[in-house]
């Protein structure tokens, strides 16, 4: 995802670590973290994904005044263009995610995320019909322009919901 400003804050790191069930104090306790090899609070390995919070156009976040495809009065707030599509509207399913860490993110960093073009390919799936894969490479740079994380995500759109054998 392309993000102009992703300010990394200690509270966000704390909440993110809690959400993945990680109670390591290096993500929450500044005094403790100072005495570890990390030298202070750092972000857990998959935290860069939370840059979605700072993407103004992120499609998987409801926005005031805009249609939202989740349920309200009706099972979906929008009319779907097709009946299949196991991923639902907006982004399909996540097939792969890769991170390369050039250093570890810490509170106070202000990151930018830039997308590079990735490949797309198709495959016939056994449990979900035709699969269309698309790759996105994202470079996270810090306030000094240094590369911090290189991320590669692969999304997949399915012809129908994945069979639960």
């Amino acid at each position: 995802m392309a993000v102009k400003t992703f300010p990394v804050e200690a509270t966000h790191i704390l909440m993110f670590a809690r959400s993945v069930g990680d109670d390591n104090p290096v993500y929450a306790d500044a005094e403790y973290a100072k005495k570890t090899e990390a030298g202070g609070i750092i972000a857990p390995p998959t935290f860069a994904q939370a840059s979605a919070q700072f993407d103004p156009d992120y499609v998987l976040r409801p926005r005031p005044g805009k249609p939202w495809f989740g349920s309200g009065k009706n099972p979906s707030g929008v009319t779907r263009e097709s009946s299949g599509g196991g991923g639902g509207n907006g982004g399909g399913l996540h097939a792969e995610q890769h991170f390369e860490y050039h250093r570890h993110v810490k509170p106070g960093d202000v990151l930018t995320a830039t997308n590079l073009p990735g490949k797309t390919w198709e495959k016939e799936g056994r449990r979900s019909g035709k699969l269309i894969f698309s790759e996105t490479v994202t470079e996270y740079r810090d306030q000094n322009g240094e590369l911090v994380i290189t991320a590669r995500g692969v999304g997949v759109r399915t012809e129908r919901p994945v069979d639960q054998q």
Binding site: H12, M15, F16, R18, S19, V20, G21, D22, N24, V26, T36, E37, A38, G39, I42, P44, P45, T46, Q49, A50, A52, Q53, D55, Y58, L60, R61, P62, F69, G70, S71, P75, S76, R80, G84, G85, G86, G87, G88, G90, G91, L93, H94, A95, E96, Q97, H98, F99, E100, Y101, H104, R152, R160, P161, V162, Q164
Partner: protein, 140 residues
């Protein structure tokens, strides 16, 4: 704390339980922290009636995040240099997940020792839900 290259052998494993009886509330918690509010992970009505799944299911990135704890508990804080996964099956509320890192190689990279790991997370039925790799700096 940190792993030592001299003490690591190819085939060594580290296993941890990631979650027992995964709760829908944790999916909501992850949605809020990550910013990914796809209704497939929190909206049972949309997911069953419109998307056609039996229930809401976990974000792949939640499984990757929980698996990340197993890895960082094993290799130590600020030691990971690479971590990548494929999501091979969906994870559902009620699932219990166990994750294993297996030493694939111990090598030199830019004059420093690194360990290459295979990573695998399975559910209570032994079905693989995540398959991947990691690399981390280790002490000599």
């Amino acid at each position: 704390m940190a792993l030592k290259a001299s003490e690591l052998k190819v085939g060594d494993t580290h296993t941890a339980r990631l979650v027992e009886d995964l709760k829908r509330t944790q999916l909501v918690q992850y949605a809020g922290a990550s910013g990914d509010y796809n209704p497939l992970h929190s909206d049972e009505i949309f997911t069953t009636k419109v998307a056609g799944y039996p229930s809401v299911f976990a974000h792949g990135m939640l499984t990757m995040g929980m698996t990340g704890k197993m890895l960082t508990d094993y290799v130590g804080d600020a030691r990971l240099t690479k971590y990548g996964v494929r999501f091979t099956s969906q994870v559902w509320p009620g699932d219990t997940l166990d994750s294993t890192a297996t030493v694939k190689a111990v090598t030199d990279k830019d004059g420093k020792k690194v360990v290459e790991l295979d990573v695998k997370t399975v559910n209570q039925n032994g079905v693989e839900v995540l398959s991947g790799y990691a690399e981390a700096r280790v002490d000599p």
